[in-house]
Each structure stands twice: as structure tokens, then as C-alpha cells.
């Protein structure tokens, strides 16, 4: 149900963009107003969210330790998984963010009633799918810089060359285009067919997937099948980033779909689970060093509490302490 609703929503947005692109008076809206509004929402929203998280203090030092602590000199400590130095934490975070370390641990548990026996097996598919998607996404976003920057930076061209490694057809088939769609379809398939994941999936989970799929598919269609005028696209893009927007006469209907969905994603991102993009950096179980007995972690709102003092305790149990022959502060 959630999947269907979100699918329909994306279809409706696609349809509106398609129709809007046909009406010349709508083009200003789609080409200029929408991207600006979306970008503003994205930047302001994301900064707001991060500052909102940042405004809550980190009262305790609570890293999840995934390796040996630093203790005795002759015991090898796990300087990354249980980092006690800043460098260790930085490396841990880097591996987490760039390679999805934690997801790499993933396993699958099954139960056999006879025995009973619990079976665990390697399960790296989620890791692979997630990594494939995110890296492709990053490369694709960077590749799009060629529309926004003139002259096109060399590293973009170099990246393009690597991406088009297989030199299949013209325009060259880019590996990331295939990978991102395959990865998204895998993630969607997983959500739909794994009963556990299906059970936990919300409308917004499907929405994000359909939205990204819509963007990827419309982009791929534009690149390989229903060609658009790239010169016009670049003019529009540069016009937007130099704050002197122009509305090219015609680019192609698919372009409006692509641009509208991207704007949707930008505006939606800060207000959805997709903010995990920024959140991962702030995760206290990952970005804190396991040095809480070495260095005192200060809680800014630490407040005095009511305790049962020794004096109160001794008073209450005075006679019993005395009878037991234990020392007393006051006889």
C-alpha cells in the first residue's frame, strides 16, 4: 500500500512536469523558480537540521566499542574499531562513511526448529547494494558539474573517462548509470520481498526509492534514448548558478521531468530520512573516542542530585554497624 501510494505520487509529479514542460508559460516556473526554491530549501533545511542536532549537547561519551580497548601496554588495542585517539576516530568515521564498515558486518540469522539451532550466514548484499548506489550517486552528481562549470574541470572529464571505461556505443555507456539503477532496483526489491524489511517500511522509504529511480531513469532516457539539447541544458544551468537565469526555448520534455524530480529530491531531503547524509557525521556512538577513563568527558548540564550520604547511612544503620564491629565516623 505504502509502496503503491508513493509510486503514484512520483507518477503524478512526473506527469505534471511533463505537461508543464509543454506549456511555455510553465517553463519559467519549472526552469527557474522551482530549482531556486528547491536549492534554497535544501541548503537552509540541511544547515538547519545539522545545527539543530548540534544544538543538543553530547552529555556522555558513549562510543560503541567494536574492538579491544587501549589498556595494558602489551595488549594490542584496536585503534580504529575502538579508537582512543582523534586519528583513530577520524579513520573509523572515514571507513564508516566511505565504505559502510558497519553494514559490512551484516549477517543473516535463521532458525531451525529441530535442535533448535540458530544459523548465521554471511549477507553482504545490502552492503554491496548500498555502497553501489551511494558511490554511483556521488559520481553522477559530480559528473553533472560539467553543466554548471565552464570550462569543465579536468577531474570531471577524467572521471567521465573512467566511468565510460567500456567504451560501449555513443554516447558512451557510463557504468554508474547502470549500477545506480540496478542498485536502486535491488534495494526496492529487497524492501518489497524481504518480509522483515517490508514490515518496517514506511511510505517515505518507498518514496525515496521511487524518487531516486525516477531521477535516474529520466536521466538515462535523456542520455541514451530521447536526446535533449545539451547546449541548452548548460545554458540553463550556468544561468541558474550565475543568478542570471535564462529560459531556453526548448530542451525536451524529459528534461523537465528530470529537473522537477531533482528539485523534489533537494527540497525533500532535509525533511526526510535522507538527512542521514549529514547525520552520520554526528553519530555519538561512532565519532567519540573510547577514552572515557583517560579523559573526563564533561556534561554541560550535569546537575546535583539527591544522594544518600554516608552520614545519613551511618545514622540509619549506626547500631548494626557498631554491632558488626565495623568502624564508625561518629561513635
Amino acid at each position: 500500500m505504502n509502496a503503491l501510494t508513493s509510486f503514484i505520487l512520483i507518477l503524478v509529479v512526473t506527469g505534471l512536469a511533463f505537461a508543464g514542460g509543454e506549456i511555455s508559460s510553465c517553463r519559467v516556473l519549472l526552469d527557474v523558480v522551482l530549482p531556486y526554491a528547491a536549492m534554497a530549501a535544501f541548503l537552509v533545511g540541511l544547515v538547519y537540521r545539522v545545527l539543530k542536532w548540534a544544538s543538543s549537547p553530547v552529555p556522555f561519551n558513549i562510543p560503541t566499542t567494536c574492538g579491544q580497548q587501549k589498556s595494558l601496554s602489551w595488549i594490542k588495542s584496536s585503534w580504529i574499531e575502538s579508537a582512543h585517539t582523534k586519528l583513530g576516530v577520524a579513520v573509523r568515521m572515514a571507513i564508516e562513511i566511505l565504505l559502510f564498515r558497519s553494514l559490512f558486518r551484516n549477517s543473516r540469522a535463521q532458525i531451525r526448529q529441530e535442535g533448535p539451532r540458530l544459523l548465521y550466514s554471511e549477507n553482504k548484499w545490502l552492503w554491496l547494494g548500498a555502497l553501489a548506489f551511494h558511490w554511483s550517486m556521488l559520481v553522477i552528481v559530480l559528473r553533472h558539474l560539467r553543466f554548471f562549470v565552464e570550462p569543465v574541470p579536468r577531474f570531471i572529464l577524467a572521471m567521465d573517462a573512467v566511468d565510460g571505461f567500456f567504451q560501449i556505443s555513443a554516447p558512451q555507456l557510463l557504468v554508474t548509470d547502470v549500477v545506480i539503477i540496478v542498485a536502486l532496483l535491488f534495494l526496492l526489491q529487497r524492501r518489497l520481498t524481504d518480509p522483515k524489511v517490508r514490515y518496517i517500511s514506511l511510505f517515505s522509504d518507498y518514496l525515496a526509492l521511487f524518487l531516486l529511480l525516477g531521477i535516474a531513469i529520466s536521466g538515462v532516457l535523456m542520455r541514451y534514448f530521447f536526446k535533449v539539447d545539451l547546449e541548452a541544458v548548460k545554458q540553463l544551468a550556468i544561468g541558474l548558478v550565475t543568478f542570471s537565469p535564462i529560459v531556453p526555448a526548448s530542451i525536451g520534455a524529459l528534461f523537465f521531468v528530470h529537473l522537477t524530480l531533482v528539485s523534489f529530491l533537494l527540497a525533500y531531503l532535509p525533511f526526510s530520512k535522507l538527512v542521514h547524509m549529514g547525520g552520520i557525521f554526528l553519530s555519538p556512538t561512532r565519532n567519540l573516542p573510547n577514552d572515557s577513563r583517560m579523559v573526563r568527558h564533561v556534561n554541560p548540564w550535569n546537575y546535583p542530585v539527591k544522594v544518600h550520604t554516608y552520614q545519613e547511612w551511618e545514622e540509619e544503620f549506626h547500631d548494626k554497624i557498631k554491632a558488626a564491629g565495623l568502624p564508625l565516623e561518629r561513635e
Binding site: 552529555p59 587501549k70 564508516e96 549477517s107 542521514h276 544522594v307 547511612w313 558488626a324
Partner: protein, 540 residues
């Protein structure tokens, strides 16, 4: 009290595939054996907690204060502003499902709401409804739901089916820690007087007497004296066990179960024998006679209130530093919270082992050292005479207790000790030890008998791993460094994996330690005849 739990084969008639319905619309029942009873009003009163009254979870009317919803939402807002972890973990979950089959309660019960992600969604949905723009506008579509009494009951049910073991957080790509969320929800529930007796009675006891069991000073003294007598009986050596001794070098803190409960008690004997043998200048405290901290299972504030005694007593007694015994969540509190809550401990000195001269630089701020760090240092520096063959009747495995593993990183020290005091040591499978260790299923204040069904379910993964080494290597002793493990794993193992006993690391040390002037050991510290050890193994 519920009747006898169902047989293992009945209990595992489960499937990990949840139904297709929307979880927000499924209802649940309070089934006997799966929840803990409410906290007695007297305990709430003693601890100055709100809304003391008589009620039970299975009753329809929980007698909540009329403005309970307001209190909860206000409490939520306050905690969102005080804990970055809470706010962040409410926002960034993508529901990838990596955590789903990592929770021992899910693996044992297959209740989909025991998937960590869904457990968190129970409150996340409320967070969205009241604290996010999208949730306020789009409600259900944004995954939001209203806070109702049913939701509150669901919280109570499922957040007291979480042992705060953090296993899920190891697998989460964002490090979302369900323990953090559980702590928050339990704090919220406490605001309206929804709490369990198994948590608050020990907390109240600890507050009053100094320990969870409510042992008063004289009884405490008796118990220690009894242990001293028993050691003399076994070894022929009379050890000393000072209590509240001012000017001692070291204050020694253990979980109070060590004084009375079995098999904890054997570990206590180990401590006493070890300290005597190395001539340690130390003292117990009858006031701070508890290392464990059930306050941790109700709120940060309660944790602080109970924990305060340790530093206060160290200061009063004028010790140089503090040594802590085998305990799980006690060490989470000491390692990650104590210094922050009740520090700085600038009246103490950086811990140095008086025997080996080793400086425990890793505890230079908190000034509290784990007994396993201490003992492994002694062994490494060859300060102990050990005869590991006295543990030959045990085929040993080691269960990493959740908190020392994932909230501290104490993994190698206990293993080093075991390898030096026992000849037969076998590891359980890779993904059930170290940072991936499975909880006993009874931590975080769930280890009570009325909750036995859920405890056994939660204990299944651990017991199953133990079964693997039992069947493969003939393992008959599971050692651990947690008082709750020692209290509850015997039940779980007897149910799922008969033939595997539970013991502490320092119980093995006690057996292996060759003391000056000792008589020939006829029995181990459990009183089991030593020469029959081999036969006993076979019989087990």
C-alpha cells in the same frame, strides 16, 4: 507467578517472517511471562519518583496522571534538547533492516516489534507526530502517529524487552544505539510512574543500604566473614577481608550479588584469595557495597544518584584508587558515565599496581581499574603461581558480557587470564563473541521470574552458541564477567543447553592460584572433589 515455561521445542515454534499488516495497527497483549510487574509504590516514594500507586501492566487502567501526555511530550522535548544521540537517532534511521535479526529478543521471539528498528519506531513515530514538520502535516503518510495510552503501553512492553546490550548498534550503518533510545523511553515512562519493580526495588535498596539486595552492614560483614571461613576450609589459608578500612590503598567495589548468589560467590572467593596472596592493601565498603547500578535501567539521574556513593566513599576512606569486580553494566557506567556524572575524581591518584608497578594510564582520569586488567597484569608480570590443571575438570568457553564488550572494549584481558588459569579454552562461534556477543537475555532489569518466557527467548542465541561448543568440544563451563549473566544464564543454559555451568573468571583464578602455605586442595571452590574432575566432565 506464571506456571512453568513451555518446553524448548514449543518455544521455538516461531518464524522470522512478520505478517504483512501495518505494524501501527497491530495490537498486542500482555502475556504472562513476557513482562515485569509494576514497581511497588513504596519504592517510588523512597526514591521520590512521581505517581506512586498500586497498578499492574495487565490491568486496563494504569492510573496515569491526567496530564500524562503533556508530561511525556514535555519530557521528550527536554531530552531531545539534552541528548544529541536521542535527536539524531530519531531522525536518521533509514530502515535498512540491518539490525532486524541482530537482537536476541527478536531471534528468540520473532515478535517483529523486537526488531531494533521497529522498537525505535515505536517512539520515532510519536517524535515525528509532535516534533517534525512533515509529521505534523502529513501524519500517517510521514510515518507519524498520535501518542495514546495504547502507545504508552506498547512502549512499556517493548522497551522492557530491550536489555540495552547495544548489539544492534554494532551493525547499524549510522551507529544508532537502541540502548540510548530505550534509556530515553524508560526515563519518559518514569515521569508518569510507569516502571517495574525489578528495577526500582534494587535501586531503592541500593539507595538506602548501599546495595541492590538491601544487605545491611552487619549482614554484609557476616557474608564476607563466611567467605573467609570457607576459603580457610578449602585452602587452609586464613585471608583478611577489610571493610570500611580508612587509609587503605585501594577501594574494592563488586556487584552485590557476589556476596550471596551462586555462582557469583565463587568469584568473590577468588578475589579474596588473590588479594591475600599478593598482599594487597585494600578495603571493601559497606556503604558503597554495590558496583552494579539499577538506576541505569530507569534514568540517568537515578544512575547518578546511586553511582555517587563510589567516589564519595573513596574520598571518605582516603584511598588512592578504586578497583572494580566482575560486572557488566556496572562497567558501562564506570567506563562511560561515572567520571562525567560524579567526577572529577581529583582526590584520587592515577592507578598504579602496587605489586607490579604498572601504571593504568587508561584509567588515569576515572581512577578505577577493572579486576581483569589488574589480574592479567599480575599474570603477565609473573606475580602469581598458578596451576591451571586444577581447572582441568572444566572445559571453558568465554561469554563476552555486552557492556564490557561494546561499551568498554574489554575483550582480551579476560581471555588472557583464562588461558593462564585453565588448560581447556574454546571460543564460541565468531559472530557470537567479542563485539558481536549475544546478551544473556535478562539484562537491564529484566532478570525476574515473572518475565521467564521472554528471558528464555532472549537467552536462546547465547545458549545456542554455547550448545555449539558443548557439542563440539564438550564445553561444560561458560565463564563471564557480569553479575547478571551469572544470575540468569544458568537458567537459560539449563533450559536450552543442559550440562553447561556458569562461572566467573576469578573462580578459575581461585582454583588455579597456588597460595603460600596452602594445604593440598581436595576440592575446587565449588566444593567439587578435584580428582573426580575428569569423570564429572564425562557425566556432564
Amino acid at each position: 507467578m506464571p506456571g512453568a515455561p513451555p518446553k524448548p521445542e514449543e518455544l521455538v515454534q516461531i518464524s522470522y517472517d512478520p505478517p504483512r499488516a501495518d505494524w501501527r495497527k497491530t495490537r498486542f497483549d500482555f502475556q504472562k511471562g513476557t513482562y515485569c510487574y509494576s514497581a511497588a509504590a513504596k519504592n517510588l516514594r523512597y526514591l521520590d519518583l512521581p505517581n506512586p500507586r498500586d497498578w499492574q501492566p495487565y490491568e486496563a487502567d494504569w492510573k496515569l496522571p491526567p496530564n500524562w501526555k503533556e508530561i511525556i511530550l514535555k519530557g521528550m522535548k527536554e531530552r531531545l534538547e539534552k541528548f544529541r544521540s536521542f535527536r539524531l537517532f530519531m531522525d536518521i534511521c533509514v530502515r535498512c533492516g540491518a539490525c532486524a535479526d541482530k537482537c536476541h529478543f527478536f531471534l528468540g521471539s520473532a515478535d517483529p516489534k523486537n526488531m531494533p528498528v521497529l522498537r525505535a519506531e515505536l517512539i520515532r513515530s510519536v517524535y515525528r507526530r509532535y516534533f517534525t514538520l512533515a509529521g505534523r502535516i502529513f501524519r500517517g503518510l510521514a510515518g507519524a502517529r498520535d501518542l495514546t495510552e495504547d502507545v504508552l503501553k506498547e512502549w512499556f512492553y517493548y522497551f522492557y524487552q530491550c536489555t540495552e546490550c547495544r548489539r544492534c548498534s554494532v551493525f547499524c550503518p549510522f551507529g544508532i544505539d537502541t540502548a540510548e533510545i530505550t534509556i530515553m523511553v524508560r526515563e519518559l515512562l518514569n515521569l508518569v510512574g510507569v516502571n517495574t519493580n525489578w528495577v526500582l526495588e534494587p535501586a531503592a535498596n541500593c539507595f538506602r543500604t548501599g546495595n541492590h539486595l538491601g544487605i545491611q552492614p552487619h549482614t554484609f560483614k557476616d557474608s564476607i566473614d563466611f567467605a573467609v571461613d570457607e576459603i580457610e576450609e578449602i585452602t587452609g589459608v586464613r585471608v583478611e577481608a577489610p571493610i570500611n578500612k580508612k587509609g587503605a590503598e585501594i577501594l574494592f567495589i563488586v556487584p552485590s550479588a557476589d556476596y550471596f548468589a551462586v555462582p557469583h560467590y565463587y568469584t568473590l572467593l577468588g578475589y579474596l584469595m588473590l588479594f591475600h596472596e599478593i598482599g594487597l592493601d585494600y578495603t571493601f565498603s559497606a556503604y558503597a557495597s554495590e558496583g552494579g547500578n539499577f538506576g541505569f535501567f530507569s534514568s540517568h539521574e537515578m544512575m547518578k544518584r546511586l553511582n555517587a556513593k563510589i567516589y564519595a566513599e573513596a574520598k571518605r576512606l582516603g584511598v588512592k584508587w578504586i578497583l572494580g569486580g566482575e560486572c557488566g553494566h556496572m562497567w558501562r557506567v564506570i567506563h562511560q558515565y561515572m567520571d562525567t556524572l560524579n567526577g572529577p575524581a581529583d582526590f584520587l591518584e592515577e592507578p598504579v599496581s602496587p605489586i607490579t608497578g604498572t601504571r593504568f594510564a587508561n584509567a588515569r582520569s576515572t581512577k578505577m581499574v577493572h579486576i581483569c586488567e589488574f589480574t592479567s597484569d599480575l599474570i603477565y608480570n609473573r606475580k602469581l603461581k598458578l596451576d591451571p590443571s586444577r581447572n582441568d575438570h572444566w572445559k571453558v568457553t568465554f561469554h563476552d558480557s555486552c557492556n564490557p564488550a561494546r561499551g568498554m572494549g574489554l575483550l582480551e584481558e579476560p581471555r588472557y587470564i583464562i588461558r593462564n588459569v585453565a588448560n581447556h579454552f574454546y571460543e564460541m562461534p565468531e559472530n557470537t563473541i567479542r563485539e558481536q556477543t549475544f546478551c544473556c537475555g535478562s539484562g537491564a532489569g529484566l532478570g525476574t521470574d515473572e518475565n521467564i518466557d521472554m528471558r528464555l527467548r532472549g537467552g536462546l542465541p547465547r545458549a545456542n552458541a554455547a550448545k555449539y561448543v558443548r557439542d563440539k568440544y564438550g564445553v561444560n563451563l561458560l565463564t563471564c564477567i557480569c553479575a547478571i549473566d551469572k544470575a540468569t544464564l544458568p537458567t537459560a543454559l539449563e533450559y536450552w543447553t543442559p550440562g553447561v555451568e556458569v562461572g566467573g573468571i576469578h573462580e578459575l583464578v581461585a582454583n588455579a592460584l597456588v597460595m603460600k602455605g596452602e594445604k593440598e586442595r581436595i576440592t575446587d571452590v565449588r566444593g567439587e572433589p578435584l580428582q573426580l574432575g575428569k569423570e564429572a566432565t564425562v557425566n556432564a
